[in-house]
Symmetry: D3
Subunit: 135 residues, 6 copies
């Protein structure tokens, strides 16, 4: 049977929810306070789950130091203390909802993790709102 | 691949565990302190998980404001600051264990959520005891 | 300089806020949902702080096992899984607000702790509402 | 002896640390990533502490519902889902460090709280960085 | 549909990660600080999940008091305040990584739980590193 | 009025409580499981509080990055992933109780912090046992 390992990291970012195909009024109606033109922000808590066989020599599914460094390099250096809409190419044309951020992070990490291992992303936008991908 | 979104809410309630088909002694033996005739209570932490496709226009699986309002209307207004045994019809004939409360909350919400989306309930009775339905 | 030590415990209880000198209407107006006649309840988190000199032989201000046993005996056995209004003599004539519960717990413990040591009580009624005595 | 009561609330905001009297280079050197011109953001957790005598009729130092409404009206409606630098007059000429935000919140609330009661503000910028005013 | 119940417990232990088939240098390179010859330690948070049908008479999947006692007897009495490498037979020849500890705990409990019920172990080594078995 | 700033860090360590002037039996009686000869361990959560005037140019009482680096250099590099009794000179002749560890950390940091600023240490040995120095 397989074991899952989890590593928790965090980053802080500004964002704004907006659909450029809609009018200002439609955006305000759908996204409410999250549509504020000057942005707002969050402390994002990110949990990366990797599932696979335990290596009999190390007793590890994956070295947590390696996973932590990978998250830092691929995700935190890109999004931490940034404005997701203005400072990143990933969200220049994609609405930075928690759902979309989780999918983007999955795609940034998927190629770096052994393909025999499953990957899952959990992202807390606030303590009360969070998402998981794939579900 | 689908995304899951989670919304955390809470309510405070009194309850008592008791099976009316049993003697007082049997109830005390099975339910211990939770059988106290004058009730005790909890801060219930409720996590509602909805799984589905992300809407390409909004980037949302479901608007968290809509989900939060729905939980308030269907669950919190019914159970918050109530005595589950005495003040609610749901538990007038059903033992209000965490397991049963989770199933009742699932049923209260299931009809209100898009049938294409999966629904799951997590309910913390205390920080150390909690349940999930469906498992 | 002195050191403070803290021990965290918890108990679950039902209660109702009510002033018997007031009309039902006045009570509902002041205490709102907390006045529900059939009670509601909480997971109370209790933090007991004891401040004093460190004993040079043990390196302890106070043995946490002793403090934990004392809290169990004097507080938890009295209030855990109880209805504060109906099952305890302490609140038969005293409104069980968090403020009053903290003062009662202070008085239950004060005589059991070395008088050279300071005692302070922190009581969480919910994660968002809590009190401290003495302030 | 007095009792202290605490109410926890939260708001999400974007901000940027910057001193307009300094060069861009000086600002980058002092404020690092927090100087990002396009802002970043946080989930601010706010704890308001009020200390005073318990009212013998209510058992309250202060009604937590009243305090919560006051915080909402004076603080959250002003700062939640806002850009502190661009959307608020309080920080149009004041660097929005956690220290300064705590002092501003103290001043917004001080006049609304009974002058016989002490007021203290705790503000979490992240789980690992927080401030208290007055100390 | 089935319900899952969760019980959270904890234990404190010392351990050292080491593979006796490797040189000291290889061990230091792979396990880093966790290879410290004199050990280090953790507060392990353990969550045991049991999934099954709810008993119609009790409203329980499993009595949490029974599950808690079982965890105490089979797991905590064995590992709490121990050196996993030196004081336990389970890890005398097995590297005490979080992955391996979770598998060992699963095996210690599996025979004690009704075979119709599923068992899953979650083990937090730190707040930021944790594992789940089976995945 | 002054502002206090707090920085939270953590380290993992093994330790054993023991008084070399006592017999083995006396040590077992006083320190119980914490006297285990082969050590046990904890995830220590450390909160460093610095109180002073806010610098009008930065809006900082103290740069949290500087404080974090200082804690790393003076405390974490010394104690993280170590056996406090065997690997450190600070506890070679001092019983590593939470009280004593907090005093040692205070002394390691005091000389590095501006003497006009107050310093206070909070140390969590577990979520339920913690200390503060000076009290």
């Amino acid at each position: 049977m397989k074991v899952a390992v989890f590593r928790k990291e965090h980053f802080n970012a500004a964002h704004r929810l907006n659909n450029p195909k809609w009018t200002e009024e439609e955006n305000r109606e759908v996204f409410g306070k999250c549509n504020n033109p000057n942005f707002h922000g969050h402390n994002y808590e990110l949990i990366v789950k990797v599932t696979g066989e335990t290596d009999p020599d190390t007793g590890y599914v994956m070295d947590m130091k390696v996973l932590s460094d990978l998250i830092k390099e691929r995700v935190l250096d890109r999004f931490d203390h940034k404005n997701l809409n203005l400072d990143t190419k990933e969200f220049s044309n994609l609405n930075p909802t928690a759902e979309n951020i989780a999918v983007v992070i999955f795609n940034l990490l998927r190629g770096e993790i052994d393909p025999d291992k499953e990957l899952k992303i959990k992202l807390y936008e606030t303590e009360r709102n969070y998402v998981e991908y794939p579900a």
